[in-house]
Amino acid sequence: MVPSTGEITLLLAKWKEGDLLAFEQLMPLVYPHLREVAAAYIRRERNPDVLQATALVHELYLRLLQQKKAVGEDRCHFYTFAAKVMRRMLIDHARESQTQIRGGGQERVPLSDDLSWVNIDSPELLDLNRALDELCALDPGKVQLVELRYFLGCTAEETASLMKISKATVDRELKFIKSWLYRRIRPCVIEKAVGQ
């Protein structure tokens, strides 16, 4: 998924210098990937009006535009940033859909295949968001990992390469983080198990 060579880096650098065109150029390079991510989130959503991959990415684009200065100097920075934006977007979306009356028979749309018990338009996502905020206070690196891997939809390999760590480390750390988040979001399940 990661476009080749230093093209993105080059564009990011230009963008950092205030070159708006670089941003225009950047978007098509990362867009297809972001769109796939968004499409994965909503793949089986019945009601297409609720959340469209396109709309999702479009919004991401606009937010990126507004916050152009927040982007750092290299690819990792950019993807981290994109992931953060994606997270914000999904959370906002979840908040909005909470206020709507939801009919039955809705199909589940997992945030990620590797985090399949969190649905993208469920209250769980808001729980996850809160849990991540707590985790961030303790170890922001772990949240970055979650954002890249689950919100932006990078593979473990891509996440590893972006964060300059090994894939094994990514998998290991995510194992712990998922457990930590699960306990935080589904405390009753654990209490029951520990209590037995």
Binding site: D19, R44, R108, R172
Partner: protein, 921 residues
């Protein structure tokens, strides 16, 4: 347990250790590692439980979603095509392999889709442009456009020929091509790029990934998604396109002007081709981009010379000629590069054939070396040569003078130098032609060349060859400065000064060398250019222009009287007479009308073309030339003597048909022939043969449309369509005019046809005006058409805007007449419109008389057509006596009608006006 970072990390460490050991050993490990810290142990335990529960739930969720996924087949369609698989993603969209779903043919295509709804319209416009560009680019080495349309989701798509191949650099590697084979392959790529350039298309993103080699070893150029059309209509939008140009390049292959956001020309593509050639021959890129920052990119691409191939680690060696070709292709300044792919290709051909390459002419050492080798010149002279070359073009010219002095010793060397100065000047000329607009740098260059020429002129006296060089150089320079027939700098005053200098040097030279063909040609040429500049100059001194043109023709006559004149020189003589005829015919506002003299000039032109044909019976240019001149003679005669015009036009058609088959099908012959056919239709109409005229107009329209369809960027073709449509409409109206046609049963049908032609004309002119809103021809034409459409709709009771349209057109026409009071064409269109406008309340006889009087004055009372208009205007104003007088004056200008001949249209109308009576209403 306190939630701190240390605690979290400690918990995590024990968590991982515990998971690494078997279940039964876990409790023990946790106990040991937690060293009695019970809350830490409980934390680890609960997280291990959570891990298990998370895994369980995740597994069941996954099963569920996989089951659901089976019901969501993701087959996509685009029009009649089913998308099979994703081939890749580009900057703007995705490319899929697809096949036709309707089973009509088993056709594999590559479907390019926009799936980028973001920067929407800009990208969509580009997508549409790519489609337009590809539709006009049919070449075996360019991936073909098969189809295009809109998908069900409303996305644009293009269906392209599916190219099953590999990128060129990989192909060369895999096939272990020799350097020669690589060059031959590369030349085919150049051929495709050149084809695009000829069609005014710049690709702008040439790189190996866009050049695939297919099974039979031929290339396919892909991805015109960032290509640019150098259409004149886009010139005004330069900023926009330059801006977009910045967005789309690939840094490794981008030219300095692309990196800097400067205007892109065909030379930008040859630069990219240069990088590609470098990659193929050297196995590496010409630059090393260490970091991808703008400064680094600008620094390297715009400042650093390309690496010498032998300095690379690859161990490859390049022939110095090839190295020179690469260096020239990769020059930083676009003007210094090969301007088109064809030039690059021809140098590579020269290299392959062992001839000297143009690339090396630009380097001092090469030429110096060539000189020393060929002429064993003194070393001092060689150094002098080198310094003058370094001083630039003018320096070379000066050197030519030095060479002339030594001419007796070394004829060949002087010829070389003269050739060199010629080629440098014409290269400069070419470079300026390629650049849009005129910039300070170009003017500066001209100033410098002028300074050197002036210095040279001072001490050249008496030296024939140097003076001849000077005459030619000043003439060429003058044309660059301000001859409308060339792309020029718009400095007509400067041009006239340069041309006057050329003439001043040439005249005494001719006096002392009366039988020297080169000298005579140089003078005639200078006089011709001087006339052309004068003719198009705003100060409008047509008499002077015509005087210079006559002088030029006289000089050419002397040349043509000498023995051993070449066909090329005779063609130049004919061209001069052709121009003289045009000036005397004075279709613009600047001329002095002298129709008999114009016809005489054209006939002399034909004499010289015939002399060429006696020397070279197969000379196509001469045959076409006679056709064109005959057509012009016919056109001059059209108004006054349509019967004679018809005869001359028929001769013209015979000459067009006498060229060989291949030339008959060439665009220039087809176009000239169509124009001539249109003139024939006009002659028939003047002779009252409405039905034949209309049929012929419709035929010409077909041909015009075919020419336009073959090349959507051909502005001339669209212009021709417009003119033919106007003529067709007029012809239909004439057929419905009771004064001209006695059989009136088809009156309504003819007027309806006229209205339809005018509507089509209005559509064409609106389209043209969208591209260039300043074009007067289309503005006038559109306004006149609006008046006619509005009027006809009222007469015929047709739906649609009518009176308002008449008013709108009339207002524009009045405005245009006011802005350009000296233009006969504008005046004529406006006058025709107000004489016949409906509702009749809009007619303004007083204004009509005023305009008609002005038209008569502008044509020096010599044009029957204007006198007829004047008579009609007086008539409308109720000034019957004056109307009769004007009509009689017009009739007196017409040639005597042979007994039994058909009365042409203008004579009939003039006769009617000369006998007109005021009808009591």
């Amino acid at each position: 347990m306190e939630p701190t970072t240390e605690n979290l990390l400690l918990t995590e460490a024990i968590f991982h250790e515990a998971r690494a050991v078997p279940d039964e050993a876990r409790n023990e490990l946790i106990k040991t590692r937690c060293k009695g810290n019970r809350s830490l142990a409980a934390e680890v335990h609960s997280l291990l439980e959570a891990c298990k529960a998370e895994e369980n739930e995740a597994a069941s969720c996954r099963l569920e979603s996989e089951a659901g996924r089976k019901f969501a087949p993701e087959s996509k369609r685009a029009g009649p095509y089913l998308l099979d698989r994703l081939l890749g993603r580009g900057g703007m969209g995705a490319v899929y392999l697809a096949h036709r779903a309707d089973g009509h043919f088993e056709l594999k295509v590559a479907i390019k889709l926009i799936d980028l709804p973001l920067a929407s319209e800009v990208f969509r416009d580009r997508f549409r442009q790519e489609r337009q560009i590809l539709a006009g680019l049919q070449h075996p080495y360019i991936a073909r456009l098969v189809d295009g349309g809109v998908t069900q989701d409303g996305e644009l798509y293009l269906a392209m020929e599916y190219v099953d191949g590999v990128p060129i650099h990989r192909f060369c590697e895999e096939q272990h091509l020799s350097a020669r084979q690589q060059l031959e392959l590369f030349l085919r790529v150049c051929e495709a790029v050149q084809f695009a350039h000829q069609n005014l298309v710049v690709h702008r993103d040439l790189k190996p990934d866009n050049i695939f080699i297919v099974e039979d070893g031929t290339p396919r150029l892909l991805d015109f998604g960032t290509a640019k059309l150098l259409s004149p209509s886009l010139v005004g939008q330069g900023n926009e396109f330059t801006r977009l140009g910045l967005m789309s390049f690939t840094p490794q292959y981008a030219s300095p002007e692309q990196v800097l956001g400067n205007p892109i020309t065909t030379a930008s593509d040859t630069y990219s081709l240069g990088v590609l050639l470098y990659l193929l021959l050297a196995g590496a890129l010409p630059y090393e981009l260490k970091e991808f920052t703008t400064e680094e990119m600008v620094r390297v691409i715009c400042n650093e010379p390309p690496r010498k191939v032998q300095a690379l680690d690859s161990g490859k060696r390049l022939d110095s000629d090839l190295e020179a070709i690469l260096q020239k292709a990769l020059r930083k300044e676009p003007q210094q590069r090969y301007l088109t792919a064809e030039r690059l290709a021809s140098d590579l051909h020269a290299y392959l054939e062992g001839k000297p390459v143009a690339a090396r002419q630009g380097t001092i050492r090469y030429r110096a070396a060539k000189f020393i080798r060929r002429h064993t010149l003194g070393l001092a002279s060689a150094i002098l040569l080198a310094t003058t070359l370094a001083a630039g073009i003018a320096g070379v010219l000066w050197q030519a003078k030095v060479a002339n002095e030594e001419r007796r010793k070394s004829d060949a060397r002087s010829a070389d130098l003269r050739q060199l100065s010629d080629s440098l000047l014409s290269e400069l000329d070419e470079a300026i032609k390629q650049l849009p607009g005129s910039t300070g740098a170009q003017k500066l260059l001209i100033t410098r060349v002028l300074e050197h020429l002036d210095r040279m002129a001072k001490d050249a006296r008496g030296d024939r060859l140097t003076e001849l060089d000077l005459v030619n150089a000043y003439t060429q320079l003058g044309n660059i400065q301000g001859n409308t027939y060339d792309q020029n700098l718009g400095d007509s005053a400067g041009a006239m000064t340069s041309l006057d200098k050329a003439i001043a040097i040439a005249q005494p030279l001719v006096a002392s060398n009366p039988d020297d063909r080169d000298v005579l040609e140089a003078l005639a040429n200078a006089q011709e250019s001087r006339s052309e500049v004068e003719y198009w100059n705003v100060t409008e001194k047509p008499q002077e222009a015509i005087a210079y043109m006559k002088a030029s023709a006289a000089t050419y006559d002397r040349l043509a009287a000498l023995p051993n004149v070449t066909p090329a020189q005779l063609l130049a003589v004919s061209r001069a007479y052709n121009t003289l005829g045009d000036q005397l015919w004075a279709r613009g506002s600047a001329g002095l009308v002298d129709l008999p003299a114009a016809i005489a000039a054209y006939r002399k032109g034909i004499d010289f073309e015939n002399r060429v044909l006696r020397l070279e019976p197969g000379n196509v240019r001469a045959r076409r030339g006679i056709g064109t001149l005959q057509m012009k003679i016919g056109s001059v005669e059209l108004d006054t003597d349509p019967a004679q015009a018809l005869k001359d036009i028929e001769i013209a058609l015979q000459y067009f048909d006498s060229v060989p088959e291949a030339d008959r099908k060439s665009l220039i012959t087809v176009r000239n022939r169509a124009i001539t056919e249109r003139k024939k239709a006009m002659a028939l109409e003047e002779l009252g043969e409405h039905a034949r005229a209309i049929r012929l107009f419709e035929e010409v329209l077909q041909i015009d449309r075919q020419i336009a369809a073959a090349d959507p960027n051909d502005q001339r073709a669209i212009y021709d369509i417009g003119v033919t449509l106007q003529d067709t409409a007029r012809s239909y109206e004439d057929a419905a005019n009771p004064l001209l046609n006695s059989s009136l049963e088809d009156r309504r049908r003819n007027l309806l046809s006229a209205e339809r032609s005018l509507e089509e004309f209005a559509a064409v002119s609106e389209q043209m005006l969208r591209q260039n809103s300043a074009n007067e021809d289309w503005k006038v034409g559109l306004a006149q058409a609006q008046v006619r459409i509005g009027s006809l709709r009222q007469v015929l009771h047709l739906p649609g805007e009518s009176e308002a349209l008449s008013r709108k057109g009339l207002a524009v026409l009045k405005d245009l007449v006011e802005k350009d009071p000296g233009s006969e064409a504008v005046l004529d269109s406006a006058l025709q419109a107000i004489l016949k406008i409906e509702p009749a309340s809009l007619r303004d006889p007083r204004l009509a008389v005023e305009w008609a009087e002005r038209g008569v004055a502008l044509s020096h009372r010599k044009t029957p057509k204007w006198l007829l208009s004047l008579a009609q205007a007086y008539h409308a104003a109720g000034q019957i006596e004056k109307a009769r007088a004007a009509a009689k004056e017009g009739l007196a200008l017409l040639p005597v009608l042979p007994p039994g001949a058909t009365k042409p249209r203008i004579r009939r109308l003039l006769e009617i006006e000369s006998r007109t009576e005021l009808l009591s209403s």
